[in-house]
């Protein structure tokens, strides 16, 4: 099984509170997801490379945002992408989700060549993302934001929508249940009917995570999910990310600046600097890598974490 990669139960204790990877929340039922994993056959997922990014280059005019970057997501793991500002982390996420088209190189996901598909097709093959600057549908309620993300799972046509009886009504209820489970999972019950535009920043981040989950992704891209959050919100978000990983058994690519969180929850870390991949390895390797220390972490961080 994928999770058995971890030698010790990973502990997240950066913020004074200790969470282990099996929290009480993870006992919550997610039958629809669990079922699909059992059907899909997890046996060979460890060997299988789910996402393969091959030598992609992306430039805007004279600026090279990404230069021959390659990256693999091996089975089910949390891969963190770190690097200084402007290193190309978000460009990488944008290239995978179809926002940008890299000029050279290719991206494969579960046998599909991602960089030839339009963004909505990429969503349909199971890549969901959150955005660094929240990009929600501000006029819709939390629930409708989630329901909108289930768009291509909901199966009825325009005429059935106009009648809203029988099949379309049944479909709405069926998918409403799934969205409600996500709302429970992310503890958003009180936000259910609130217009997203009226929610504070931290809660919007959570709704955005919920929207990505509602897509039933097979790969989750999180672009700075903890940016601008206070300690408590970061705690919650870290717990949710771990829970999602545990419950849904999906690989996660995480872009984050909070090194404490990254080192604690990532299985593997890729470091970018000025569009070039400078390192790739386990958190312990990265902490000791002199190039990474020079480009990003700095002497202080390594000294502090060694102490």
């Amino acid at each position: 099984m994928a999770v058995s990669q971890h030698k010790k139960p990973l502990t997240f204790n950066k913020l004074g509170v200790t969470f282990t990877r099996t929290t009480a929340l993870s006992q919550q039922s997610f039958h629809f997801q669990r079922q699909s994993i059992l059907d899909g056959g997890l046996e060979n997922m460890d060997e299988k490379v789910t996402l393969k990014v091959e030598n992609i280059s992306l430039s805007f005019g004279g600026v090279k945002a990404l230069d021959e970057v390659s990256l693999d997501v091996n089975g089910v793991e949390i891969l963190a992408v770190i690097g200084p500002n402007g290193a190309g982390k978000t460009c990488l996420i944008n290239s995978i989700s179809g926002f940008y088209r890299p000029q050279t190189g290719s991206i494969y996901f579960n046998g599909h060549q991602v960089n030839k598909l339009s963004p909505h097709k990429i969503a349909e093959i199971g890549i969901a993302r959150t955005f660094q600057n929240i990009e929600l549908y501000t006029g819709l309620s939390t629930l409708d934001n989630l329901m909108a993300a289930r768009h291509f799972h909901i199966n009825y046509g325009t005429l059935a929508a106009a009648v809203y009886f029988g099949k379309s009504h049944r479909e709405e209820i069926k998918h409403r249940k799934i969205c409600e489970e996500i709302i429970d999972f992310l503890e958003m019950e009180s936000l259910r009917k609130k217009t997203v535009g009226s929610l504070p920043y931290g809660q919007r981040k959570r709704v955005e995570l919920g929207r990505a989950l509602a897509l039933e992704p097979k790969l989750l891209l999180l672009d700075e999910p903890m940016a601008g959050m206070n300690v408590e919100e970061k705690e919650d978000m870290a717990r949710f990310i771990i829970d999602i990983f545990e419950e849904k058994k999906i690989p996660i690519i995480l872009v984050e600046h909070d090194m404490g969180v990254v080192m604690d929850i990532a299985d593997r870390i890729t470091v970018l600097d000025f569009g070039i991949k400078i390192a790739d390895g386990t958190p312990d390797d990265i902490k000791a890598n002199p190039m990474v220390i020079k480009a990003y972490l700095g002497e202080e961080f390594t000294a502090a974490s060694a102490a």
Binding site: S97, G98, F99, S118, P119, H120, I122, A123, E124, A128, R129, F131, E135, L136, Y137, T138, G139, L140, D144, M147, A148, A149, R150, H151, F152, I154, Y156, T158, A161, A162, V163, Y164, S168, H169, E172, I173, R176, K177, E180, K193, R211, L215
Partner: protein
């Protein structure tokens, strides 16, 4: 949304339903009955019926425009022309081919929808003001074609044979009233349902954040064009009803200024509220009719010329729109929502 006290959601069906309490059912059914017995009231004249017929036809068009503009966020200033497409479809099919109205009315919706998709194609590349300009093109191109191409009747227009059920022809204001009301109820029902379905959510997603919508699996190409199709379908149906009501279709009946007022009706009523489309149409066109009725007395005001009432309805409608944009940009329907929820919460603040 606050529910009336004592109303409890114990299933998703109940939470999703629009009509929740027994009182709401009573009022809804009462309202529908009232609509149907309305012409029997003694004060209802043929003149009043004519006004109401005109307003309800415009309401059907505005319901469609609300889906296009209020939900999907795509501005269209060509709705009058798409109404013309519907009207000409019904008139030409009836006059030249003898197609019965029951077939030509849906055909009017379809043809207007297809023409709408063609003129809506620029929405795939441009937004806002630029899209508004691109849709004005529809107004000029379509009206030029029907005016100058002989196959479409030319300057003198096309006479429309009245719709008939068996031997009963729908050519009076009263019989048209029932025809229009029945179609309007169906279209209102459809508009409300589309708005709360996955289609409506996809439209709002495109309106609020089109880039995120695409990444979340909503095809912008498909749904922007679908929004134009649905919006123009409603306009085509309105045009078809208009053709039957007026009996003779001409290009002058669908000027650009109408298309602009339609967008004004949505602003006054509230973008993205089905109720708003209805209120906005009745308010603005009601004001217009009142001015037509009482406008001549304006000439008694010293300093106003004898022809002061000419254009005065436009003056008032424009003033109302401007005041709404300044003081209640989200429209009357939004105000009504606020009133409803605070009424239900009273005396608590939340």
């Amino acid at each position: 949304m606050q529910l009336p006290s004592g109303t409890i959601n114990d299933s998703y069906e109940k939470d999703m339903a629009i009509i929740r309490t027994r009182w709401q059912w009573v009022m809804f059914i009462g309202f529908v009955v009232l609509i149907f017995v309305f012409p029997a009231f003694p004060f209802v004249s043929n003149y009043l019926l004519r006004i109401i017929n005109n307003i309800v036809i415009a309401m059907i068009l505005v319901l469609g425009l609300n889906i296009l503009m209020g939900y999907a966020g795509q501005v269209s200033l060509g709705q009058g022309a798409f109404m013309a497409v519907g009207a000409y479809t019904v008139a030409l099919l009836g006059h030249k081919l003898g197609v019965p109205f029951w077939l030509s009315l849906p055909a009017a919706g379809l043809s207007a929808g297809i023409v709408g998709v063609i003129f809506g194609a620029p929405s795939l590349r441009v937004k806002g003001v630029y899209l508004a300009l691109a849709t004005i093109a529809a107004q000029f191109i379509i009206l030029w074609i029907v005016r100058h191409v002989h196959a479409f009747g030319g300057v003198s227009g096309v006479p429309n044979p009245p719709a008939a059920i068996g031997t009963f022809t729908i050519n009076s204001q009263l019989s048209n009233y029932y025809l229009i009301i029945v179609v309007a109820i169906i279209m209102t029902f459809a508009a409300k349902n589309i708005a709360r379905s996955k289609i409506g959510r996809a439209f709002v997603a495109i309106r609020d954040n089109d880039l995120a919508a695409e990444v979340m699996g909503i095809s912008l190409f498909r749904y922007k064009l679908l929004a134009f199709f649905i919006g123009c379908f409603f306009a085509g149906i309105a045009g078809g009803l208009w053709a039957n009501l007026i009996g003779h279709v001409q290009d002058e009946q669908f000027p650009l200024i109408n298309s602009i007022w339609y967008t004004g009706m949505i602003m006054v009523g509230g973008q993205g509220y089905t109720l708003g489309a209805i209120i906005g149409t009745f308010l603005l066109l009601g004001v217009q009719e009142i001015v037509v009725l009482y406008g001549p007395s304006l000439s008694h005001i010293p300093g106003v010329g004898g022809s002061g009432y000419a254009g005065f309805s436009q003056f008032l409608m424009a003033l109302i729109i401007v005041l709404f944009i300044i003081f209640e940009p989200r429209g009357l329907a939004h105000r009504w929502q606020i009133f409803k929820s605070s009424y239900r919460l009273h005396p608590f603040s939340y």
